[in-house]
Assembly symmetry: C2
Homo-oligomer: 368 residues x 2
């Protein structure tokens, strides 16, 4: 028995002594066993407050309900739930199309949940009812509690384009920190001295990582962000943020926007409302390298997130989780490039051709 538990512990990254039961969860949460059962049964009614207590207790005990029962009754549904928000951000349709292609090739269809980017919409009930085999959370604002609840309910989850502070959930993201450091370095090398930043949703991991990479590099090099405004990842939000930044007496000479969707809005405002020449008066850099970044009107310098590579990693992890082959958590960071176009003033050196794009590869990095 001890040996068996040890073997189990080796397959599972967490040290497990005895699998927690509904009885343990009920005891810890101070509720009946039937309430625990209802909390994990699709469509069953539980008071929200009770449910919250049960989920907390289940988390604490690493309780995984009904796994055998579910595997017996669950027919292979062939569907993967994808939660995504705000398809106006050009990155999201690109992700959805790529995911759809890759999952179809693997024999799965997509059950689509679009959520309001500003609400941490709990989709768990729906997900349980619809018996998706796994879930991709591609919304940057979704509360990571939902991810935890799914993991507890035995539904494989992969976070896409975001990371989680809790270590139970796998994730695939671009290289937010390195990319933003590279952008800061690129702008400094290009002779800029007044640095602006337009933030995305401040509670999102992508914004936190991108802002940290940018500001930390600047600080380490005795520079700083002189103007900052929050665009919340929306077009209108970025529009208002850029208007605020450009209205200040000491206008920055470079603005890094936390994604391309906001950078396009910033470009439009700078030109149409302030008559600024980009990059003559002001440089603008984005993150994602969406399709529209290539359009001549924008010609946006941007750090790339290679969607197809990120999607391939996501599908690989999902299939492993569904097949029960992997129980370990993977946090994948997919590297990108700083794609150099015309929206930002160029440094004197370090620009190299890479296929049909120019990338910045400083051979003599200003800092390690």
């Amino acid at each position: 028995m001890v040996k068996k538990t040890d073997t189990g512990a080796r397959a599972d990254p967490l040290p497990v002594r005895r699998a927690a039961t509904a009885y343990d969860v009920a005891k810890l949460a101070g509720v009946s066993q039937s309430a625990v059962s209802r909390a994990f049964t699709p469509g069953a009614s539980v008071a929200p407050e009770t449910r919250k207590r049960i989920i907390t207790a289940a988390k604490e005990l690493s309780y995984r309900p009904n796994l055998i029962a579910r595997s017996l009754i669950k027919q292979r549904s062939g569907t993967i739930g994808v939660v995504i928000s705000y398809l106006q951000n050009q990155f999201n349709p690109e992700v959805l199309e790529s995911l759809s292609r890759a999952l179809k090739a693997a024999g799965y269809n997509i059950l689509l949940f679009t959520v309001d980017p500003h609400s941490a919409d709990p989709v768990l009930e729906e997900v349980l009812q619809l018996q998706v085999e796994a879930l991709v959370l591609g919304s940057t604002s979704l509360s990571s509690a939902v991810a935890d609840e799914c993991a507890i309910a035995g539904i494989p989850v992969v976070l896409f384009n975001r990371t989680s502070a809790v270590n139970s959930v796998s994730s695939v993201a671009g290289d937010n920190v390195a990319g933003s450091r590279r952008i800061a370095q690129f702008l400094a090398a290009g002779g800029h001295r007044r640095f602006g930043y337009i933030a995305g949703l401040e509670n999102s991991s992508t914004n936190q990582e991108r802002e940290a990479g940018y500001t930390t590099w600047l600080q380490q090099n005795r520079l700083s962000v002189s103007s900052r405004a929050v665009g919340n990842y929306t077009f209108q939000g970025a529009w208002d943020a850029m208007r605020e930044i450009c209205s200040q007496p000491e206008r920055p000479d470079a603005v890094f926007c936390a994604n391309d969707h906001m950078a396009i809005a910033a470009l439009e405002v700078a030109r149409s409302e302030f008559g600024l020449d980009v990059p003559g008066d002001l440089s603008i850099v984005g993150f994602d390298d969406v399709g529209a970044a290539r359009w001549p009107s924008f010609s946006l310098t941007s750090f790339s997130q290679p969607v197809d590579v990120m999607v391939a990693e996501t599908v690989r992890i999902l299939l492993g989780l569904i097949g029960g082959e992997t129980a370990t958590r993977e946090a994948i960071t997919v590297p990108g490039h700083l794609i150099v176009r015309r929206s930002a003033r160029l440094p004197p050196h370090g620009i190299e051709r890479n296929g049909d794009v120019l990338v910045w590869c400083p051979s003599d990095p200003l800092v390690p």
Copy 2:
């Protein structure tokens, strides 16, 4: 018995004497009854040629297989299949987001099928297997045969942003013919004389209707399309088409593109490759009024397709079909406006403010 049949015939728009059976279909198709049964059973194997014969026979006889059996075994899945292609076209993510919101409000989730815009991918097998309650076909290229097959198999179908030549399937579309006539009239009133057209997929109903509206009005007014190229609704296709049109010795002074996505590509080419001023040298008009049409870089004059209204109509029809309340086919045309911005030279009169946009409302139409 006769009376009962008559009552049935009144509820159904088609005159039905006796419901066709699998036997009737088998006889007409010259196959066995079991082949007919297999053709309408998810996952069962039938030779493609045989299946085609069976479908043709079933269509001819208005055969609806297994309806009672299906209603007995089918649990309410709560999902609607949505077939869409090419999410790069800004119109499609807008539709998907609006559909997702409206269906969620009605208690449904979306099972998403993205298809290659150039292939008439048969999704029927998948649809039958996944037991979606209804299907929205939002791809302009999908063969209408798929729609017919679904209708035969008893799955409610609504075509979105396209119409069908066959009269068995409901559809919701914008006012392609009136909109394109209005565009021709607007350009003529603006003093243009050399008219270009960039076509979408030539076999799509949207392109056929938009091209017909444009060219017919011009012909009726002793004008004509002097340059035409096919962009197939893709960005790259429109890019190449516009390059072809601008390279001709007699360049048009106005180009109507069959949708905004292509119009944006045309604008980019005209400016970046030919150094043309839009609308000084050349006017460009699109169709759809997508979000990006409002961006100052494009400021695209475009005939609007009100997505939320189109989606509301689609959901209304779907719910009626699912509930079995309606059996009649509806072909809805949602009216739009010619939204006037800066990408086309203006006529001397007829421009009116409508909320926060300008629209062209010729009080004295050049033709009825």
